[in-house]
């Protein structure tokens, strides 16, 4: 039970962030899109992208300052796996026009059928990938 309340409250903050950017600036807070905007947007829009990303970077230290503990973070994937995964995440989120935030948090909230298809697809692909790794490497579990 103890893991559910922080998950719910943290999720509510993520939703609040998406609502803030929509209600104040009229924009959808899709992280993959904002990151790309750092390279492709121009002028003030690009400065808003940069400010959002800067705020995002300040999030974990600010959390540590408020909560008195750093957020837990365990990375078990090896560097080559992280490279392959990063390439897939970068290319895939552009081809699919969004990631967990843009399609998941913002898109589902708008009842976008396009986003629902995206979310179901990346959830299914993620679950299938972990299940396949569990089958191929039963001894190492999902840690490699």
């Amino acid at each position: 039970m103890s893991a559910f309340l922080p998950a719910l409250a943290g999720g509510a903050l993520i939703g609040l962030s998406v609502a803030m950017l929509l209600l104040l600036n009229g924009r959808i807070a899709g992280i993959s899109g904002l990151v790309v905007g750092l390279g492709t947007d121009r002028g003030e829009r690009r400065r808003v992208d940069a400010a959002f990303v800067a705020g995002l970077l300040f999030g974990p230290p600010a959390f540590a300052w408020l909560a008195g503990a750093w957020p837990e973070m365990r990375i078990v994937a090896s560097l080559p796996v992280l490279v392959v995964a990063g390439l897939l995440v970068g290319f895939g989120t552009r081809l699919g026009s969004g990631c967990t935030s843009g399609h998941g948090v913002a898109g589902l909230a708008r009842l976008s059928s396009r986003s629902l298809v995206a979310v179901l697809t990346f959830l299914a692909a993620g679950m299938a990938t972990v299940a396949l790794m569990r089958t191929l490497m039963p001894t190492s579990g999902v840690s490699w």
Partner: protein
């Protein structure tokens, strides 16, 4: 002047997003992969992250429908594309595979840059390379040789 407020709004929204990620457990790739591990000891707690986020985001969206324009700008910029096409499904599938392999999606990966050290830097650089790779495959300034027989007059 209002432009400065939009930049500050972006900074504040990013900070709230980063705080939410930190509190929710989404920064921990082991937790994320535990959530995706439905054939193993499934950890469903991150479902509550999505539930909480979509609920509050939906309230914001409903409120936006009642406003003539956003507080700090002229108009709402909502995606209008409704096509469900191979790019949407294929791209989302590739993203899902990378997400399952690493436990990172773009938001947590960028936020974790400030605390995660080399592995996170490597992931984010690869992610940027993937994004650049997509931009390269869809570039519009590509030199496409025009067939000799084609003429603009016939198009």
């Amino acid at each position: 002047m209002i432009g400065l407020w939009r930049i500050l709004a972006g900074l504040a929204a990013g900070l709230v997003f980063g705080l939410g990620l930190s509190l929710s457990g989404m920064l921990d790739p082991v937790r994320v992969r535990g959530f995706l591990d439905v054939t193993g000891p499934w950890d469903p707690s991150l479902m509550f992250v999505l539930g909480g986020a979509v609920t509050v985001s939906a309230l914001g969206y409903l409120l936006s429908r009642r406003l003539p324009r956003p507080v700090l700008d002229e108009r709402f910029q909502i995606p209008t594309n409704r096509r469900i096409d191979p790019a949407l499904v294929g791209g989302s599938a590739l993203f899902g595979i990378g997400w399952g392999l690493s436990g990172f999606c773009p938001g947590p990966a960028v936020a974790a840059l400030s605390i995660g050290g080399l592995p996170v830097v490597v992931f984010v650089l690869a992610m940027l390379a993937g994004m650049a790779g997509h931009a390269w495959t869809t570039r519009t300034d590509a030199v496409v040789p025009e067939p000799l027989s084609s003429s603009k007059a016939f198009r």
